[in-house]
Amino acid sequence: MAAEVKPIANTLHTPSEEHEELREQLMFDPRPREELNRMVLDSMTHTTPRYWTAVGVLTVLVLTLLLGMWGYLIFTGIGISGERRPNYWGIFIVTFVFWIGISHAGTFVSAILRVFKAEFRRPFTRAAELMTTFGLAAGALWPLIHLGRVWVFYWMIPYPNARWLWPNFRSPLVWDLLAITTYLLSSTIYLFLPLLPDLAMARDRTTGWRHAIYRALALGWRGTEAEWARLRKAISIFAFAIIPVMFSVHTIVSWDFAMGMVGGWNSTIFGPYFIIGAILSGVSAVITILVVLRATLKNMTYFIRPEHIDALGKLVLVFSMAWAYFFFNDYLVQWYGGHDVVRALLSFHASGPDAWIWYCMLLFNIVIPWLTLWNKKLRRTPWVMLVVTLLINVGMYFERYTIIPLTLGHQRMPFDWGEYSPRFPEISLALGSLCLFMLLYLLASRLIPMVPVWEVREGQEAHLVRKVGKTVVPTVSELD
């Protein structure tokens, strides 16, 4: 089907700036199919000493900062963290929520944009989906890391056992476990389905161990009509189905807090507030990754263009505004509720010893995006976007930090107020999980095609340019 669509892009010759823009955005400069394939394969097989150095360093860091420290934690006790009464949760859960939040945007960018047929999505859906999977992998470690007795973590899983002991289905942590597992499974499948044709493409053009791997992974894909039809149907089903899963996951993560009896936590708006925050941080992370990929991965300047970053930047601006709205709404209602504990808490956030975290959160999540992202020139400058999106993620980390330890430390009994500051083991683990994420991404970038070639081609081939009056407008032929 895709092959039958005629490439018409060559007919576009109008050199006006406006048209140039259109051309760039929709990649109306198609290259031959084989060249595209080769470019992608090249990016996968092209490794430099710098790459191997990075892989080596990250591997060492993961082994020491994450796995080594985790082993030490298991053998000594949670006490090596900075957690203490009344801050029973700290960096562990903050980082958990952070990664789960990051993992949202992959699905959001890929599935929602796919469902709404946003054409600019095509080149970076894979990068975003990978982020989801690896973000979940890094995030799903944390509920385990933070357990006092991780060796019996499986007691949370509902499995039949001789004592008829079941998990407590009233506990948000069990919902969490189920939601995250579901999300991890479905997002992995959702990553895998559009990967099939590209794996087959790679299988056909490689030899040796790569060939063996791709042959196994490609599941015998031949590109027949029937296969394409089924694939489209499956992708379509998953794109629709994964959206509610994605919304549910972060809502449930928010319920870890909202279902509690902690002042400042039991807010009815936490579900959507967390989702917006997750998407804000996630889309920002997508931009960060795209900027990095574009700069480091071979041939990526063709696939990932400032226009994509521009479009995502607009999304970030919109979600920053939405986040500000939810933050304000949550704040106002909590303040207006007038409970002493919440009032004291809010003033503690804004004037306590850790108030700088609260102000940085507002600065990074609202002020900086609003001041920069309205400007197209800035949106199209990769390094600016890199800085801004990194700051947004720092801001979102601070948001979770404010919500978790800074709120727990200031509850209803002033005798038991407490301060929390992370200790080295926690920071080490958090950095280790970041290293794990980067390492997985680095390895994946050389193992699987980072760009869904067939989708890009499909997009390019499906686009037509029509003249409406004197204006040239691109149109898309009906693919489905």
Partner: protein, 704 residues
């Protein structure tokens, strides 16, 4: 089984069987519960049931009755003896943690000889060799000296007899708790006011107004559990129809006791007696017959010296004159001054004028003479030691190197003593300076008795018996001393039985016709006491001399120092980890020493919480972290007593500071240490060390 015997009582009875069976005519060895092999366990042991023994708490001299729960030969939990007149089933933190003394891993595990004083190296001794040393030493006649702690009483009695037998001076009995209670002064004041040198017992339960002059009777003063029980009755209103007692405290810092007072007046240290005298004058104006002439007291000046107003004193006088049963309690803080004896006299005179002697809600005199020597006697001992008149010094139940102010010169004087024999169970500071370590059993492994002094409405012989087999190669000090054959007792139990034999004919809770049965029942019920309250009513005195003690204000730049004992008691509690971990009630600090400073003063000195400050007096200096204490006079600082050990095992050593270093050896008229007159200066060191405390440090009181 009869319905009236509960299972627990039955167990107590059977439990006693193990001890009691031995008493009906077996030898010395059978007097201890022996550990039997498992196949030969008594029924209750084999079934995994607990055994309960009645004994007496040895953690302080108050002599509370314990019911010790034991399980398979191990002491598990201290519970109060519900029948015991002192504590009626209640206990304080110290008594509860007694098992951590018994099972303390740092105990001295057997007799030994120290190669060099002050050094850790100890060569183990055979008990036979040790007994020879004791026997030879006791031949020294008047060159032998005994220094004893405040408990247990049977060792004191035995040593007194022994000293008499060998012609040595009477044993000196002293302890930091006695010092903080101002016991010698209290007894001397009672002698002057009532004609008998005994400690007073205040019937809090029946009073409706209590005015305390620096008495921390809910913490350590004389018999804290008994007084807390009394306080509990004092505060109840419904039961007897009497109104809820009203409690007023005059004390420089708001201690735990003052903390529950309805009114607290932070009077200047040393001015308590003056305030009492002024109050007496106001009461005399209201028609009270004061046995001393207080008309010379200038009420305004007294109020000003105390840091009160005349209106406040008038208010107190009004309350007292309206109260049916007012009580005025002279505490250690009021007595520990140069004019402490006069203060005690003035306060006791108020009780006398209130007319409640020997009546419910009034003042009684406890039956036995005060057991505590004054510091003057200790000083005399130190002098004898210094001049080489002491060849052998026996030390039991006291840790003078830690408890006495070093300025008294005890440690230096020790070097002139040829031979120091310590009976300490723990490697404390004094044991470190001793030549021979002949460890006694800990109280839970020992026989003994304690006459409770001032904590019950009747005379009590509280019985002590071993609840477990002695854990280590320790030996009862009484047996060690008796082994010289200088006294007509075969062993410790024989001595105790002979001592309590006169009680057989006196009636009381325990009755028998002969000593063996009496002994068994005596042990079973935890002691002997009359069935009904029986304390002597003090007699009314002749005219008293009204001496108005002068309270000197602290000079500019100097502060009054208040030193007070905590749950560490006289310092021996510092090696019990749970006493260390139990928060101090007022500050919630654990495991360390702090300096309480009024926040206003601290601000003036630029001191924040946890800043280390150097506290210096004429006698010495200590360093400790600042605790900004909102309820202390701005011209006063306070340091708790009990930490700052240089020995005593892993949990006590090198922790905190010992405020005894700051106390100058100034004695008052009664021979008590006038530690309340100590003046100190504060110097910030610029260092910080966070105090471990339970309370929040996060912004509760405006500090982050």
């Amino acid at each position: 089984m009869s319905d009236t015997i509960s299972r627990r009582n039955f167990l107590k009875l059977t439990g006693l069987g193990a001890a009691g069976a031995a008493l009906t005519g077996c030898g010395k060895a059978a007097r201890y519960v022996t550990r039997r092999p498992y196949y030969d366990m008594p029924e209750y042991g084999a079934l995994g049931e607990s055994t309960y023994f009645a004994t007496t708490c040895g953690e302080c001299p108050a002599g509370c009755g314990l019911i010790m729960r034991t399980f398979e030969g191990r002491a598990i939990k201290a519970e109060g003896n519900p029948q015991h007149p002192v504590n009626m089933g209640k206990l304080c933190s110290r008594g509860l943690v007694g098992v951590q003394g018994l099972y303390n891993p740092d105990r001295i595990k057997g007799p030994g000889r120290r190669a060099q004083r002050g050094h850790d190296q100890v060569t183990a001794l055979d008990w036979n060799a040790a007994l020879d040393v004791v026997k030879q030493a006791l031949g020294g006649g008047q060159k032998v000296a005994f220094f004893l702690g405040l408990s247990p009483d049977h060792i004191a009695d035995l040593t007194a007899e022994l000293a008499q037998a060998i012609g040595a001076p009477a044993p000196v009995r002293y302890g930091a708790l006695g010092m903080f209670d101002g016991r010698a002064g209290l007894a001397e004041a009672c002698r002057q006011v009532f004609g008998e040198a005994r400690l007073p017992y205040f019937d809090l339960a029946g009073a409706d107004l209590v005015i305390s002059f620096g008495a921390n009777f809910l913490e350590t003063w004389l018999s804290p559990v008994a007084y807390t029980r009394g306080y509990s009755q004092f505060r109840r209103s419904a039961a007897t129809g009497k109104r809820r007692g009203y409690f007023i405290s005059l004390e420089a810092r708001r201690s735990l006791t003052s903390g529950v007072a309805d009114e607290w007046y932070p009077v200047a240290p040393g001015s308590e007696g003056l305030a009492a005298l002024a109050l007496g004058r106001l009461l005399a104006e209201r028609g009270w017959a004061l046995p001393l002439d207080a008309s010379a007291v200038d009420v305004d000046a007294a109020a000003q010296a105390a840091g009160m107003t005349r209106a406040q004193l008038e208010h107190l006088a009004d309350l007292a004159s309206q109260a049916a049963h007012p009580l005025f309690i002279p505490g250690g803080n009021a007595l520990a001054h140069a004019g402490g004896l006069a203060a005690a006299r003035s306060i006791l005179a108020l009780n006398l004028a209130a007319g409640a002697l020997g009546q419910p809600g009034g003042l009684y005199l406890s039956p036995a003479a005060a057991d505590s020597s004054s510091l003057r006697d200790v000083q005399a001992l130190v002098d004898r030691m210094r001049t080489g008149q002491v060849e052998t010094l026996f030390i039991h139940g006291v840790n003078p190197v830690f408890e006495l102010p070093p300025a008294l010169g005890f440690t230096e004087a020790l070097s002139n003593v040829k031979q120091v024999i310590s009976f300490a169970s723990f490697p404390d500071e004094t044991a470190l300076q001793s030549d021979y370590l002949l460890p006694d059993h800990t109280p839970l492994e020992s026989w003994g008795y304690q006459r409770t002094l001032a904590g019950a409405d009747r005379p009590v012989y509280s019985a002590q018996q071993p609840v477990v087999v002695p854990l280590y190669d320790t030996r009862s000090s009484a047996d060690v001393l008796l082994s010289a054959g200088l006294l007509p007792y075969s062993d410790e139990v024989d001595f105790i039985q002979k001592k309590i034999a006169p009680l057989i004919t006196q009636g009381g809770n325990v009755q028998a016709t002969e000593i063996a049965t009496f002994w068994a029942r005596f042990l079973q019920s935890g002691g002997w006491w009359p069935v009904q309250a029986a304390l002597a009513a003090p007699s009314a005195p002749a005219g008293l001399e009204a001496a108005a003690p002068q309270a000197a204000a602290a000079p500019e730049g100097q502060f009054h120092l208040v030193t007070y004992p905590t749950q560490m008691g006289d310092g021996r509690g510092a090696n019990r980890p749970w006493l260390q971990e139990t928060p101090n009630p007022s500050t919630t600090v654990v495991w360390n020493t702090w300096v309480e400073i009024n926040p206003a003063t601290a601000d003036a000195l630029g001191l924040k919480n946890d800043d280390i400050v150097k506290v210096k007096s004429s006698a010495g200096e200590v360093e400790a972290a600042v605790y900004r204490f909102p309820a202390i006079r701005p011209d006063t600082v306070a340091i708790p007593f009990g930490q700052g050990h240089t020995a005593l095992g892993r949990w006590a050593e090198g922790r905190g500071a010992n405020p005894a270093l700051l106390l100058a050896p100034a004695l008052n008229e009664a021979g008590d240490l006038a530690f309340g007159d100590t003046l100190v200066t504060l110097t910030p060191t610029g260092r910080r060390r966070p105090l471990a405390k339970l309370e929040s440090t996060a912004g509760v009181y405006g500090e982050h």
